[in-house]
């Protein structure tokens, strides 16, 4: 086996040194009756070219390189080359969690920079080293709000990513966390009147997403004011991090739960991504996950360490703020490099291009369907209602080698034939125009059939 650095003679010499007759002696503690006396039924040992070929075939059968209008919590942005150059360095790639600070300063300082940039972008005062993804960050932000407020009920907007909502429900089911939903209005934003009724003195927090699942930017200051008036915390989830380049940060929130995938992390069929929790300084001791802090060594030299570990499972065990141990460090490093490459001006310009492409597509597609949720700004996604079923439209688009928007029927049946379309800086005008042409044909085809105009129920 090519990964094993021992010759048969080495093994013999080591067994002799130990005083064992054969390797089986060392497995004697395992009761005989349970030992596996056959080969595992697995693919035989393969060479490098065979493995490459097997995965190349898989790659070819996985929509390789098709232009796509899918977003919905996973975004295709250009990834600067230097990201992979840097994360491929063995010293980052093959290091463990930086518990031994003296020989982990590289990882520790980069996390400290990551925490700083997340604070700058979100308007929060502290950020952690990472969570698994945006969905678990959101769930753990809600349980954190329960600890901070001493209250139990969580109110969550239906315009939060449906899978984030499912994860929060899973996390909360045995935490004595009653969960209430609040709907969205004509403009796609949280319905304020309904929220006013629902939000009570028993609420730990209000969870919203901005831009929300429909791409609509929520009125965070107004939501914060209403939450505060009831003594509840405001948790703002961000699934599309690039929005922070041009959209005002949710500085009025108490906790921000973010997905950093847009910052240079490949789509990778859904993972690995990187979640982050950011909050106010006064809540830091209720935060889950690792934190890096600055300190000095005995000669007064600046250095970095993992800190406030008394929140964590290896110290507090069942009283810890979370069971999280392994997080998404290398993915956070990708995001860190991405933020460093684009920086203060680049992120703004990048976000502007997303905005422009989306505005163009929304206007263009709107001629062949109804762009829903007018009256509130969107970032790089929008909902288009069509006469024809979006699955049918998507099939037609796929014939032209384009992946269409995300049909919303599964999660929002009340929106009828609606789909969520996403444009990023990588979306070309040519592909938008090509979709427009297919939508135009669909519209004509739809009109020939006596189908009732889909009703919008909210």
């Amino acid at each position: 086996m090519r990964y094993l650095p021992k010759s048969p003679a080495d093994r013999e010499a080591m067994l002799r040194a130990i005083g064992a007759r054969s390797i089986d002696d060392l497995f004697a503690p395992i009761p005989n009756e349970y030992r596996l006396n056959r080969d595992l039924r697995l693919p035989r040992q393969m060479s490098e070219p065979e493995i490459l070929e097997w995965f190349q075939k898989c790659s070819r059968e996985n929509g390789k390189g098709l232009p796509s209008f899918l977003g919905a919590g996973a975004y295709h942005h250009y990834r600067p080359v230097v990201i992979d150059t840097i994360i491929s360095r063995g010293e980052f790639l093959t290091a463990y969690t930086p518990y031994q600070a003296e020989i982990s300063q590289g990882t520790l300082q980069s996390i400290f920079e990551f925490q700083t940039m997340i604070c700058e972008l979100t308007g929060m005062e502290v950020a952690n080293a990472s969570m698994y993804d945006g969905s678990t960050a959101t769930a753990e932000a809600a349980t954190m709000a329960m600890r901070v407020s001493g209250r139990r009920r969580v109110v969550m907007a239906r315009s939060v990513h449906p899978e984030y909502r499912e994860v929060l429900a899973t996390y909360g089911q045995h935490q004595d966390m009653p969960l209430t939903a609040v709907g969205f209005g004509e403009n796609g934003r949280v319905k304020m009147a309904e929220l006013e009724r629902i939000l009570g003195e028993d609420c730990a927090c209000l969870v919203v997403q901005s831009p929300n699942f429909f791409g609509t930017i929520e009125d965070v200051p107004a939501l914060a004011e209403l939450a505060r008036s009831k003594g509840a915390l405001l948790v703002v989830a961000i699934a599309e991090a690039v929005s922070l380049g041009i959209v005002k940060p949710p500085a009025e929130a108490d906790i921000v739960a973010m997905e950093a995938q847009s910052f240079g992390v490949p789509l990778g069929f859904g993972g690995p991504y990187a979640g982050v929790i950011a909050t106010r300084e006064k809540y830091v001791r209720q935060m889950p996950g690792r934190l890096v802090g600055e300190t000095r060594d005995k000669h007064g030299k600046r250095g970095y360490v993992l800190t406030l570990a008394t929140r964590e499972q290896h110290i507090r065990r069942e009283k810890a703020t979370s069971n999280i141990c392994t997080n998404q460090a290398l993915i956070a490093l990708m995001a860190n490099v991405f933020m460093t490459v684009y920086g203060r001006e680049g992120l703004k310009e990048l976000a502007k291009q997303n905005l422009a492409k989306t505005a163009y597509a929304r206007q263009h597609f709107g001629r062949h369907g109804k762009a829903l949720f007018d009256g509130a700004p969107v970032f790089n996604e929008f909902v288009l209602q069509t006469v024809e079923d979006p699955y049918v439209i998507n099939s037609r688009l796929l014939e032209e080698n384009i992946v269409g928007g995300f049909p919303l029927k599964k999660f929002y049946p009340e929106l009828g034939n609606a789909a969520l379309w996403c444009c990023t800086e990588t979306t070309t005008r040519a592909s938008i125009d090509a979709v427009g042409a297919v939508l135009a044909r669909a519209q004509t085809a739809g009109k020939r059939r006596p189908e009732p105009e889909p009703e919008v129920v909210r």
Partner: protein, 493 residues
Amino acid sequence: MSQVKKATRHVNQNEGLIFEKSSPGKAAWRLPPLDVPEVDTADLLGEAERADLGHMPEVSEIEIIRHFTRLSTWNYAIDLGMYPLGSCTMKYNPRINEAVSRFEGLANGHPYQPERISLGALRILKTLTDCLLEITGMQAITLQPAAGAHGELTGILLVRAFLQKQGNPRKKILIPDSAHGTNPATAAMAGYAVENLKSNSAGMVDVASLAAQMNEDVAALMLTNPNTLGVFEQEIHKIADILHGKGGLLYMDGANMNALVGKVRPGDFGVDVMHLNLHKTFSTPHGGGGPGSGPVACKNFLEPFLPVPVIVTKADGTLGFDYNRPQSIGRVRAFYGNFGMHVRALAYIMANGPDGLRQTTEDAVLNANYIRKGLEGVYDLPYKTPTMHEVVFSDRVQAKKGVRTGDLAKRLIDYGFHPYTVSFPLIVPGAMMIEPTESESKEELDLFVDAMKSIAEECEKAPDVVLEAPHSTRVSRLDEVAAARKPVLRWKP
């Protein structure tokens, strides 16, 4: 320092924080020209428009490469040498894993793209699923959990859902005193109380205490096997029987699965549900703390409760996701888990095959026993029970000179090694938990044993050298107390 054979001091570059290099007008990016009309952002966003991006850095590309390259040289890594952290399984991370995970169709696949253009990803998930079921001897699996602790939560939620369906979710989880901290933290997140289970003098579960503590309030026992002492729980069948006899379930923490692959299968010794750590046993890189992946495998009676979606073979023979699972515990994560880690783990399994995996396990156990033999008599071995893939010594002898496990660990750094796991498991005062993995050659192990012996000698002759260690790193011991007392968690201008 004359006896240090593995490492030599070498100049490394100083480097400040990236913010300290920033100045307006520098840039490392360029966007293609916009091919659609420009927009008036104020007009589109109104009140929601952002004014500026504060102190985000402005630097050039060469500065970025140098910044991170310099930082990287301050890290220790498996690529540099032995990384004997106990229960962490710091094995070689094969580079073909990285290559295949970056193939365009896999790296750029969108989780919501239609199933008919996702056949490659689905085949990878299905093949990995089949391999892991064969390796564990279990019957059903989810790949959704993102790490070991996340897998634990998923597994205990499965237990709870099953018991709930029987009519009573029960109240508590039994956890041995040698367990990793994630176990009790997980039990609490699943709404259970934690009851400690004492180990016996051999470092194993005390079967008599288990029998006494087991009752109808106990939902499950969370057991690591081999346990954190590197000891195989020989009475595992009795343990399983005691639990099952009172309607409880046996959960296995698979952190130490590297001692078992190809030799014995948890499904064959009474385990009902377990998680695997693909970032330990199956070679996906630790990346400075993650990402991991924590698949959960279980017996058929827990299958209906697995998180949505599960991968299925449809009537027409094609693969797809099944979301219609009314008894599911729900989702534990968006999408399908850390797919990129699934790709890497499968590449590792293919590179090994059944013979390679068995040889890997044998070498891992051989290496741990070789270290045990080399250091027995030099360091105190609190439990003489046979060692599997890791061995736990204590600082009892050296503590008499005032040198503790943490000091010994820091001194090991000067000898060119990453320390072992310090002060864990908690049942061993002054624990030194050493897991070499299969990735170390006899030469590297000999250097390690020499280094440990040399440090033991220093404890006798010049304990201050050890107490002040490390001496060769760019920073000396850092003030952790000050860091926690007045936390500085971000840079400020």
